[in-house]
Amino acid sequence: MKQFAFLVRRDLSLAFRQGMDSMMVVVFFVIAVVLFPLGVGPEPSTLARISSGVIWVAALLSAMLSLERLFQTDYEDGSLELLALSSLPLEVTVLAKVTAHWITTGLPLIVAAPVLAVLMQMESEGFLILIVALLLGTPSLSLIGAVGAALILGSRRGGVLLSLLVLPLYIPVLIFGVSAVDGAIGGYEFKAQLLILGGFFIGSLALTPWAGAAGLRQALE
């Protein structure tokens, strides 16, 4: 546990000192959302109708973009081998790196989301549920993405390949994330969707470190 915290802290301080990297993900998120009013027109009712979907899709894409680097630098400079040889099981190492990654990229997205919701004319009933849904959903995105990030290490065309592998697996999170927000806005059921998102989170928490570690092991061989 001590070493887990140690690894998370190290990744956090690496991220903070490299500052721009995680900032860029948020900026991408904002720009991607801002493109929609420019694309479909500024009419408030249209924007409000698509707001939750657009914000979720943009969040999916930003999470995916930032994941490419999750193991890449450690893989290139030899740190990954040493992490594999540390007394920490590789599964825990994956979990620690995902935790740090979510804190540096997932959380900023959640902070930025309400601002974007305002820009997209989302009705205020949806704000709280949007944040809750993102809180429950984005960790799953980081966890699932970590498996993909481990698999593409050392391959040609890493980034595009990662999106091909990971985006289809993000579909369930997208569907229930959007549906929860729309439910809250329209006054329908939304608790079930949030529960399912939480279920996804627990499920991926249990399974993905395992698959991610297997992915890292084959990359290191």
Partner: protein, 243 residues
């Protein structure tokens, strides 16, 4: 030296493949002929959709095949990861393009069927959407297979991907069904089994058998090709390293 699977000549497999192949081809030709005959002559036209319902006899078996192929890939991947059997890896790799072809066919025929029914080429119907996602999964698998210079790494990485994808398939299916009931409950076919009339069920099943036999035949051809390609790579490595 018994552990050196990769250098072992899979003679027994090749013998078996040589025995099975002509039978698979024969089964395919016969069942495809019978299936087509039944689809066009003995099966009745649908009372609502008329003759266009005959597309069902390729569409539905093709979408069954797309799921079947992905399942085979996942099982073969598990075998290759756990028991490290080289043929498992070769069969998973050889299955991928066949699965992708059937998945594409399921989509294309679904679209051709949907046009007269819905008036558009594409509707976000639950079945079509799930099949579309399945196509993405097939393509992702093939892309990962092709992304490594080292064949062994490619095999391991894509085996893990196939298993992760396979675990996700029911979750994706569940999500898409849920999403679909929220937005539009229309569907061309509802395969609830009991409600379908035997005169329509038989051609479906026979076409499914034809597709399975086709799969076996092409799979064996592709596996043999992979095995020869392995031998070619070993010769090339010998040229480089003089081993």
């Amino acid at each position: 030296m018994a552990d050196l699977h990769r250098f072992a000549n899979p003679t027994r497999f090749l013998k078996l493949a040589g025995l099975i192949q002509p039978w698979a081809l024969a089964v395919f030709l016969i069942s495809a002929t019978v299936g087509l005959y039944m689809a066009f002559f003995t099966a009745p036209a649908d009372y609502q959709q008329g003759e266009s319902a005959r597309i069902m006899y390729v569409h539905v078996p093709a979408s069954w095949m797309s799921m079947f192929c992905y399942t085979v890939m996942a099982v073969a991947s598990a075998v290759s990861l756990i028991w490290k059997h080289p043929l498992a890896d070769v069969s998973a790799r050889a299955t991928a393009p066949i699965g992708a072809a059937f998945t594409f066919l399921a989509l294309a025929t679904g679209s051709l069927w949907g046009k007269p029914m819905w008036g558009t080429w594409w509707v976000w119907d639950a079945r079509l959407t799930s099949v579309l996602v399945l196509l993405f999964l097939h393509i992702g698998y093939m892309a990962l297979q092709g992304a490594f210079d080292d064949r062994v790494r490619a095999a391991k990485a894509s085996a893990i991907l196939a298993l992760v994808g396979f675990v996700n398939v029911p979750i994706i299916k569940f999500s898409v069904d849920w999403w679909n009931t929220l937005h539009q409950p229309a569907s061309v076919v509802k395969m609830s089994g009991s409600s379908i009339h035997p005169s329509m069920l038989w051609p479906l099943l026979i076409m499914a058998i034809a597709f399975k036999a086709y799969y076996v035949w092409v799979l064996l051809v592709r596996m043999r090709q992979e095995l020869v390609a392995n031998k070619v790579r070993i010769l090339r490595l010998k040229q480089v390293h003089g081993g």
